[in-house]
């Protein structure tokens, strides 16, 4: 069997581990447009603030490719997939044949068209190792940094940049920070926490026009900068699959085995695909590293002929800024239970006798017990919900379920 994988991040690595769990002998070729050994994208902010070394950027042990007998083609860009010929072609003119192909092409930054944008010299996005390296080249203690986007990427960039300079302004069109994962009250707590470190926020506005070193905002204010980081959002890399005849909505559409709709022997996994969020039933892009890995692993196992499904996806995030941690999961529509002391924040969202989502900030100990309630569809009437409201405890489960979890073979 001849496996080809496009991509070199979590989904690709999950696929290699999935394939090798069942097929030790097949040939695996990994093609990536980045020249690096597989590295962890979420670590670029840690690297920029000097808390992770080059060596620790590696997502797997240095002998990973050798141990798994993977042929790598790094720094090679795939330009087309031929579903009929079962080949991929690269920018350097190579043609590689496959029996099974995985498209783990991830996503790219979305940069909105803004007047004057082309005049800005020091402009960066913040997704890849090379982005962090380029920023480090120009960043000094005197830098004035403007970050457009107060989401996960923008604020992780702010935290890293803060290691060099406190002159940081973050702009977002939304009226609160982290609007994709936090409600209004939690966002306020986090915004105060980050503001206290010296970061300035301009919310509910956007850039009207750029000049080389300043941005005029829709609200009439002007922000001077010498480094601009665009972190408005990301878009999935779907073009290869779409051109090959695979189904694409916002992301690539696959079945539960990660096989691309409309194609044979071509799979997709990670941030370029959509998953079904079990808390809402909606198909959406869940651009999260654990989701990418699990999708990739399922794809790999299926590529190696072992039928299995990826069916239990939920949105979930664990992230911290300046020492204040957030863990969130699921969806936020339903009955709510909120406890806060102004620093720690807890919101549990329930619907139809199930926990469907939660937001924890500050005290996040043992949050995975809440996650398990969502993922395992456990009826709250079967649990001691009063205990769970206080904190996540195994004691809240029924004795039968607890025994199953803690005392039975697993």
């Amino acid at each position: 069997m001849n496996y080809v994988i496009i991509g070199n991040s979590a989904a690709a690595i999950g696929a290699i581990e999935g394939i090798r769990a069942y097929d030790k002998d097949g040939s695996v070729t990994l093609i990536s447009d980045e020249k690096y050994f597989t590295y962890s994208r979420p670590l670029i902010s840690y690297w920029l603030k000097n808390s992770v070394t080059d060596e620790n950027m590696k997502y797997r042990d240095p002998d990973f490719y050798e141990k798994n007998n993977v042929t790598t083609m790094l720094g090679e860009t795939v330009t087309a997939i031929s579903a009929n010929e079962k080949t991929v072609t690269t920018a350097s003119g190579k043609t590689i044949a496959f029996d099974k192909l995985l498209c783990a092409t991830g996503s790219k930054p979305f940069v909105p068209k803004t007047e004057g944008y082309e005049k800005v010299k020091n402009v960066f996005t913040f997704m890849k190792f090379d982005d962090a390296k380029a920023i480090k080249e120009v960043l000094t203690a005197d830098s004035k940094v403007l970050i457009v986007g107060a989401g996960l990427i923008g604020l992780k960039a702010a935290e890293a940049v803060h290691e060099y300079t406190e002159n940081i302004t973050v702009i977002d069109l939304a009226d609160r920070i982290l609007s994709s994962i936090l409600d209004e009250d939690a966002a306020k707590i986090m915004q105060t926490h980050i503001s206290d470190k010296g970061v300035t926020f301009k919310l509910g506005t956007s850039v009207k026009v750029f000049s080389e070193n300043s941005a005029e905002l829709q609200n009439g204010e002007t922000v001077d900068f010498d480094i601009l980081i665009m972190a408005v959002g990301v878009r999935p890399n779907t073009e290869l699959v779409s051109a090959a005849g695979g189904k694409v909505n916002r992301g690539i559409i696959t079945d539960k085995t990660q096989l691309v709709d409309g194609l044979k022997d071509i799979y997709a996994a990670g941030d370029c695909t959509e998953s079904i969020d079990i808390t809402t039933g909606d198909s959406k892009i869940l651009a999260l590293l654990p989701n990418a890995f699990l999708q990739g692993e399922v794809a790999g196992k299926n590529m190696a002929g072992n039928l299995c499904y990826y069916v239990n996806a939920i949105p979930m995030n664990a992230i911290g800024f300046f020492g204040l941690h957030i863990i969130t999961a699921g969806s936020y529509t339903g009955d709510t239970y909120v406890v806060t002391d102004g620093e720690n924040y807890k919101k549990l969202i329930t619907k139809d006798d199930k926990l469907v989502g939660f937001i924890l900030m500050g005290d996040v100990d043992r949050a995975g017990i809440y996650t398990s309630l969502i993922k395992e569809h456990i009826a709250l009437s079967e649990c001691n919900f009063d205990l769970l409201k206080d904190k996540p405890l195994m004691a809240a489960f029924s004795k039968i379920r607890r025994n199953k979890k803690l005392a039975e073979s697993h």
Partner: protein, 146 residues
């Protein structure tokens, strides 16, 4: 494979396993240094008490390792059935805390939460076998094949 299992009916809620765990993993020779002299050793086992119900919980070393698969750095790995943490690689993002269904990844308060820690079945300290099992006074934690 031998794993740690809980005999809930036998647990007295004495919390001795927490002390033994923290002590064994503190690297300190003297129990006084481990706990009383500003060291505040972190246990990787957690005894839950709810009225008359008591039981200890630590890493189950699951077959499907949700924490390892979710780890953003590669700090968590599963070797010969033992889920291990490389603290040098951990950045304290807590994605494993989010995904462990048993709440068994412990935020290491001793280092200000900069990394997590977890039970490695005492393979990473001088005991070589789970000290919580060895020291449990009533057989409430066992290490066996099931």
């Amino acid at each position: 494979m031998k794993r740690v299992y809980v005999n809930e009916e036998r647990c007295l809620g004495c919390h001795l396993c927490e002390y033994w765990c923290a002590y064994a993993n503190s690297g300190e020779k003297d129990i006084m240094t481990a706990f009383k002299l500003g060291k505040d050793a972190t246990p990787r086992i957690n005894v839950e008490d709810d009225g008359d119900v008591h039981f200890a919980v630590q890493c189950r070393h699951c077959d499907d390792t949700p924490c390892v698969k979710a780890c953003i750095t590669g700090a968590l790995s599963c070797n010969d059935g033992v889920v291990e943490i490389n603290r040098d690689k951990c950045v304290g993002c807590y994605t494993c805390v989010l995904t462990c269904p048993y709440g068994c990844i412990v935020i290491d308060k001793k280092n200000g939460g900069k990394t997590v820690t977890k039970c490695e079945l005492c393979t990473d300290n001088s005991n070589g076998e789970p000290v919580c099992v060895r020291e449990c006074i009533n057989g409430a934690i066992v290490f066996e094949e099931r």
